[in-house]
């Protein structure tokens, strides 16, 4: 069994991070909750382990803000699943959040890289 469940290894999501990552994953195309969590795990090189207890509420918040919409479809391996896709508002939000996060990351990096 993978050991990423170990709490000490996991990177805590900062407030609002998970929503941005979900929007980013949906920018590649519609996906269901399981698919989103797999995507984030793989793309983060197993640094992010998405807890369902965070994922589902985050999806509901995005639905409520009308940044994504859900639709029941049949998956490639013949399972019915609820696929989410970005709305135009969601796409706009992703752009805003991405630039914000990049500025944040650069700033963090610069400060942390200072010689002591």
């Amino acid at each position: 069994m993978p050991t990423v469940d170990d709490l000490s290894e996991r990177i805590e999501f900062l407030q609002g991070t998970l929503e941005v990552l979900i929007l980013r994953s949906l920018a590649l195309g519609p996906n269901h909750a399981y698919g989103i969590s797999l995507f984030l795990k793989q793309e983060s090189d197993h640094q992010f382990l998405v807890d369902n207890g965070s994922l589902y509420p985050a999806l509901q918040r995005l639905l409520q803000r009308k940044w994504i919409v859900g639709q029941w479809k049949t998956s490639p391996n013949a399972r019915r699943a609820r696929y989410y896709r970005l709305t135009p508002a969601g796409r706009k939000q992703l752009a805003v959040a991405t630039s914000k996060w990049q500025r944040f990351v650069q700033a963090m990096g610069r400060v942390l890289a200072l010689r002591t």
Partner: protein, 877 residues
């Protein structure tokens, strides 16, 4: 607005969202299981692994739904439903808790409503804080407040500058015959001048109040009536104005109707007649008949008014040394008319209610603490299956609020029932309406206090047990009780103490009641029927008219079967209206200010026989004591002792009731002004020798002693009076024993009210002890089982729990005794001389509390000793 709609719509969409989430998660799990199967796990193992990795589905669904705005409303409804279910599941707890809250809230709301009505609330007049009463006082003679005379009143009013207006009125109500409108009625009337209405600032319900013109001697015959009377006679206030009614056979025009809540000078007044300072009224400065009510000018303090009145009093002393030599003027706020006893009584009731509320709260706290601990297990289970922390806290809060709300409703109901009962304690002398409305502020306060108790002792400990999850709680609750054991014990001690205090207070009042009931009034009241006729002045102002009326009525009454004697008297015993006057003895007591005063009665022959009052010296009056024979008097033994100590009073002269009279007899002393008032001596004069005294003193009360049931004779006596004079109304047909019994009625009410409080406290405390021990027994069932299995005798287990209860009882009782003594000292004015430290009462209260403790402890202790070790030990597995 839009947000609101989406919330509301969301509420209805709740199920759809929930179903969708459920389906979505099912699909998610299937896909995850697929992945596990692809990695080679069996179908079953794959599903299990997926479920394990997924997390708590219920909690995820709940927190996902939290994202939607409908959550708060919807989940509160769910909490309420769940709370109701939980409360229904333990009916014994719920009923006890609701009853306890209800009692505390109800008793407090009712008694504080009374307190507020009598002591706190502004009187129902405009700017009541500026209203003052003016009295004469003679501090040198120990008379704090007494009536003034019309001439003094007129001088006060003319000389004072501190008041906007000053009104005068007769200190007592006068009964009048109302005739000409159906059945004749006797009603109480107040005699007031225009200044009274102006000072009080009251508006009539219809018509007008008196004006200065109505105060003029010889003014029109006008009256003001109460709205109850106006409605009864004419169908409403508006219709009554301008109508004419007959009062004591004189036609009067109704000029105004007072509103229903107007109760000045006191509650009984139904008719107001103008006070006119006729030459006869103005003749004497020693004619103490008036009270004065005045409105302070806005810029004048009561102290400045007092200073001014004291200057005026000084001037009157010098101008009229004969009557005013020692007279001061007392100025008091209208609110302070209430006697200290009445005030104390109301405070005692409130103290009792507060005590009860505290006991109720401690009991409630105890119940809730026990329950919270018992529920630690349930809560631990709910946490384990994923209940959110906020959810549990909210759930417990909702349950507490439900209990509080139900208890509050019960309390409101009790208050609505109890307030009219307690209102019987409202002193009659206060110028406020009879029945106070329930006070909502108090209700809110008492309800808030019990709610706070619910939350503090119900929700908080339960929540605590969640915050610091006791893993043991999941398995057993055996050790859970220890933490709050001390606190719960302290609560029981407080309950026992409160109960003892209330028991002592109630016991002392009951003993005072017994003592008052045991007082010998000096006359025999049983078997005596009394009734009253008015003898209105114009028709009966001449002595011959009265004499013939008396002889016709008394002759016919004595001829009735079963009647052994009959007499007429000016005001029967226990009637405060009977006059009190100085009795002068030439050469011994010449100064009216220093002479002893006596209650005066004008009587027909047969009075002493009818009341069974023995004449100890000399003779009774007889028919030869008429208006032309020498003036005579019978005095009471107490008056004889004052006037001529150790000497024979017979044949001596005294001056009383405006004439010199000779003492012909001495009668045993009786209590005339009230069963609790011993002090006033009595003096009696023949009815025929009224002389120049006002017809106010003409005998009007008929007393008839009957063998057998006196009430049977009531119709015959009424007929006899009507045969003598068809226009005479007969009123107040009563048994003298009822009149004497009514003297103790206020005491019975007091004792009953405090007794009820004490009984409730007793029950609550018994429930408290029983509840505490029951809980301890269940919590320690396993331990007891082990002890029994190891051979502990059952008697020892029984003794152990009994001891635990008794220790709490003893500590409570020990703490209570000094408190009870302090309370008893505070109310000693109500105790009619009963020692506030009466050992028998304390012993009884302690005994009752001890019995309560033992009885409350016995059943749980017995249950503990009969535990089956087999069962409890298995439970531990």
């Amino acid at each position: 607005m839009g947000a609101w709609w989406s919330k509301l719509a969301g509420l209805f969409r709740r199920k759809a969202v929930d179903d969708e989430l459920r389906a979505e998660m099912d699909a998610h799990l299937e896909m995850e299981a697929d992945a596990h199967r692809d990695r080679g796990l069996s179908a079953e193992a794959a599903r299990a692994a997926a479920a394990r990795g997924f997390g708590n589905r219920t909690r995820i669904r709940e927190s996902s739904r939290d994202a939607w705005a409908f959550e708060p409303i919807e989940s509160v409804l769910r909490d309420v439903r769940y709370g109701l279910r939980v409360l229904r599941r333990s009916p014994a707890f719920t009923i006890t808790a609701v009853a306890v809250i209800g009692l505390g809230v109800g008793a407090n709301t009712a008694s504080f409503t009374l307190l507020d009505h009598v002591l706190v609330r502004p009187l129902p007049f405009a700017a009541p804080e500026r209203l003052v009463m003016l009295y004469e006082s003679q501090p040198a003679n120990g008379i704090p407040r007494t009536q003034t005379s019309p001439p003094n009143f007129v001088d006060w009013r003319a000389a004072s500058k501190s008041f906007d207006v000053m009104g005068g009125y007769f200190s007592i109500l006068f009964a009048v015959n109302l005739s000409g409108t159906g059945e004749p009625q006797r009603l109480d009337s107040a005699i007031v001048n225009a200044g009274v209405f102006e000072a009080l600032g009251v508006q009539p319900a219809a018509g007008r109040v008196f004006t200065a013109d109505d105060d003029r001697v010889g003014g029109a015959d006008v009256v003001i009536i109460s709205s109850a009377l106006a409605t009864g006679l004419f169908g409403g206030p508006e219709r009554a104005v301008g109508q004419r009614i007959n009062l004591d056979n004189q036609a009067q025009t109704i000029v105004g109707v007072m509103p229903a809540e107007f109760a000045f000078p006191s509650r009984g007044a139904q008719i107001w007649r103008p006070l006119r300072f006729s030459p006869a009224l103005m003749a004497s400065r020693s004619n103490h008949v008036l009270y004065a009510v005045a409105r302070l000018r806005p810029d004048v303090s009561i102290d400045r008014a007092r200073a001014e009145m004291s200057v005026i009093a000084d001037r009157l002393r010098r101008a009229y040394p004969k009557d005013n030599a020692r007279t001061e003027i007392a100025v008091a706020r209208l609110r302070d008319m209430l006697s200290p006893q009445s005030r104390l009584l109301v405070l005692a009731m409130f103290g009792g209610a507060v005590c009860l509320l505290l006991i109720a709260c401690t009991n409630l706290a105890n119940l809730l603490l026990a329950r919270a601990l018992a529920r630690a297990q349930e809560i631990a289970v709910r946490v384990a299956i994923g209940a959110g922390r906020a959810r549990i806290a909210r759930q417990l809060l909702v349950e507490s609020l439900l209990l509080g709300a139900a208890g509050g409703a019960v309390g409101l109901l009790l208050a609505a029932i109890a307030t009219p009962l307690l209102a019987r304690l409202v002193p009659i002398a206060l110028p406020v309406g009879a029945t106070p409305a329930i006070d909502w502020r108090v209700f809110a306060f008492a309800a808030a206090l019990t709610l706070a108790t619910c939350v503090a002792f119900g929700a908080a400990p339960a929540y605590q047990s969640y915050r610091a999850p006791d893993l043991n709680a999941l398995r057993s609750r055996s050790r859970a009780g220890r933490r709050t054991g001390v606190m719960r014990g302290a609560l029981v001690v407080a309950e026992v103490a409160g109960t003892v205090v209330l028991l002592v207070a109630a016991g002392l009042l009951v003993k005072a009641l017994w003592r008052v009931q045991a007082v010998d009034p000096g006359f025999r009241a049983d078997g005596v029927l009394t009734l009253r006729t008015a003898l209105p002045s114009p028709k009966y102002s001449g002595p011959p008219a009265r004499a013939s009326f008396y002889s016709r009525v008394l002759g016919a009454a004595r001829a009735l079967p079963g009647v052994t004697s009959a007499a007429y008297v000016s005001y029967q015993p226990m009637e405060p209206a009977s006059g009190k006057m100085p009795v002068l003895v030439p050469g011994v007591f010449d100064d009216p200010l220093q002479a002893p005063s006596a209650i005066i009665h004008f009587i027909t022959p047969g009075f002493f026989e009818t009341l069974r009052v023995p004449i100890v010296h000399g003779r009774d009056f007889d028919d030869r004591d008429d208006e032309i024979s020498p003036l005579v008097a019978v005095i009471s033994q107490s008056l004889a002792d004052r006037l001529w100590p150790a000497q024979d009073p017979l044949g001596r002269k005294l001056f009383a009731a405006r004439a010199e009279r000779t003492v012909v007899g001495v009668a045993r002393s009786i209590r005339v002004r009230g069963i609790e008032t011993a002090g006033d001596p009595q003096i009696y004069f023949p009815a025929a020798q009224l002389g120049t005294m006002s017809t106010y003193y003409a005998p009007k009360d008929l007393l008839v002693r009957v063998d057998g049931d006196p009430l049977v004779l009531a119709p015959s006596l009424t007929k006899i009076v009507h045969d003598a004079d068809a226009a005479q109304a007969v009123a107040d047909v009563r048994l003298l024993s009822d009149i004497v019994g009514a003297q103790t009625a206020p005491r019975r009410d007091q004792a009953a009210a405090l007794g009820a409080f004490a009984l409730l406290a007793f029950l609550l405390a018994a429930v408290g002890i029983h509840g505490l021990l029951s809980f301890t027994v269940s919590a320690r069932a396993q331990e007891i089982g082990v002890r029994l299995a190891l051979g502990a005798p059952r008697g020892r287990i029984l003794a152990m729990f009994l001891r635990q209860g008794c220790v709490l009882g003893v500590v409570g009782i020990a703490a209570a005794v000094p408190l009870a003594y302090a309370a008893a000292r505070g109310m000693s004015a109500l105790l009619f001389g009963v020692n506030p430290a009466d050992p028998a009462i304390y012993a009884s209260a302690v005994l009752v509390a001890a019995v309560m403790t033992v009885v409350g402890s016995f059943s749980p202790a017995f249950r503990a000793s009969s535990i089956d070790p087999n069962t409890t030990m298995r439970m531990a597995e």
